[in-house]
């Protein structure tokens, strides 16, 4: 059906390229050549994507008995349930345990999450550490070749145990933050992704409009980038970041540096269910600086009263802040 567009020669080339690419042994020159080939013609990109697709679809036939028939037996026994009845109960139990371990390695995502106002430190199997900020959710999936983490909500700080053979990749809304032995912060706020590096080198890969992953940034400590999750090409570029500010949450502090009051309060509210509400626009554009403790609204209220003559009314659910009379 599509033959008039993608011809035989292109398909052959695409198959060769994908096989080469998946070998993991491609030289930098070959990588450039591949990029060039893909760039040259939309049909090349299509054929390449289709080869990938066929590979992925094959994965879904994983449990097919006929296809498994001539695979080496060692792996087959562990994975396939249909043979279990031939083993004794104990052996079956062992198989279940083994299968669980294997399946865990292959697929399972462990989720860690925090509620509003909570923070959590998670020590991962490989020696890496994960710190979750308020109202955040991160999935962890370790396979043999790669350590995949999925920031689904909120913000997390990653301290990565070095392992060159097993890249550490944080996925966030289709983009990837990649590191080898380093520490960095990733935050997802209202459709924006913010990455800041405190240690080592971090690469950010994002999807372009055509859905291909391309390098968006390669950053050193003290650098960061902000981009729209839905369209990473719209980004701040690599910019210096205030690390003290970015990492303040890890010591339950929140750091404002000449921020708009409205933004500062929105930030503060991430940590509390008893929200601070700015009534009217009178104070919205005022600027605020200072370090506040998370979960200590009194200090913030005091600062608002002192700094801006704000009037404050509180109840159990919220703290209303009004402009000066």
């Amino acid at each position: 059906m599509n033959a008039e567009v993608v011809d035989e020669a292109i398909r052959m080339a695409a198959a060769d390229w994908l096989a080469r690419c998946d070998s993991g042994a491609m030289s930098a020159a070959e990588q450039r050549e591949l990029d060039h080939w893909l760039e040259a013609d939309a049909r090349h990109r299509l054929a390449f994507a289709q080869c990938r697709q066929l590979g992925l679809m094959t994965n879904l036939l994983r449990d097919d008995p006929e296809l498994n028939a001539d695979l080496p037996p060692v792996r087959k026994v562990v994975r396939r349930g249909s043979y279990w009845r031939w083993f004794g109960a104990a052996a079956a139990m062992l198989m279940i345990a083994l299968a669980t371990v294997l399946v865990r390695q292959h697929y399972a995502i462990d989720y860690y999450q925090t509620n509003i106002g909570a923070q959590r430190v998670v020590h991962l199997d490989d020696g890496s550490t994960l710190m979750l900020n308020t109202d955040s959710r991160v999935g962890v999936r370790y396979s043999r070749d790669q350590r995949d983490l999925y920031l689904e909500r909120g913000e997390a700080f990653f301290m990565v145990a070095k392992n060159r053979q097993r890249p550490f990749v944080v996925h966030v809304r289709g983009s990837e933050v990649r590191a080898v032995g380093t520490a960095f912060n990733v935050a997802l706020r209202a459709g924006d992704v913010r990455v800041a590096v405190t240690q080592g080198i971090v690469e950010v890969k994002a999807e372009d409009a055509a859905g291909d992953h391309r390098q968006l940034a390669r950053m050193l400590p003290g650098q960061g980038i902000d981009f729209a999750a839905a369209n990473p090409q719209q980004n701040s570029g690599i910019a210096p970041v205030n690390l003290e500010r970015v990492t303040a949450w890890q010591t339950s502090r929140i750091y404002f540096d000449n921020d708009r009051l409205e933004d500062a309060i929105a930030e503060y509210n991430r940590y509390t269910t008893r929200k601070v509400v700015l009534v009217g626009d009178a104070l919205a554009d005022e600027r605020i600086s200072g370090v506040f403790n998370i979960g200590d609204p009194e200090a913030l209220v005091f600062a608002l009263k002192q700094g801006f003559d704000a009037r404050v009314t509180e109840n159990d659910q919220r703290i209303l802040v009004l402009g000066p009379r």
């Binding site: 990109r45 299509l46 994507a49 449990d63 349930g81 701040s236």
Partner: protein
Amino acid sequence: MAVSKAPLRLVSASPAGEPADRALVEKLYQSHRGALCNYVARMLPGGQQDVEVILQETYIRLLRLDNLQHLRDNPRAYIFTVATNLVRDSLRRYMRRRGDAHERFDEGEHESREPSPQGSVEWQQSLQQLKRALLQLKPLTRKIFLLSRFEEMTYPEVAAALSISTRSVERHMSTALKHLQSELNDIL
């Protein structure tokens, strides 16, 4: 925080927002929509609803293009590539979810992990077609391709398991992909 707001604003004011560009994208998308719909349906386990989601997203991505040159050069290949990449992501998410389900199954000590025929008729047909194509491969080529896919084995690992060179693993992988492409020609 000022920085973070800029990109969001720009999204809605992307260059394809020009009426002429928008009209072109609309025209090209509409003229391929029918074929694209069939194409996506055969590559996705979900039903019509998931197909619609992919089509929507494809359209949105086209609208967001800064430069329409590639799209103009070969609209069909371009649009189908965008959709294929989206299908790929969707399929990965599907497999992750399915992975979760498997684990829960095992922990509950349920034994039934049959190849669970799921998804639309089109999808099932594609899988059957793919399976037939895989079974047509020479045994060694099939073994190599399946070890790499099913077991997520790297080329060196496959090479070691079968006592062959990494280069020949690569050649067999390529041969398999060529065969699959030609056998599934009507889907692609």
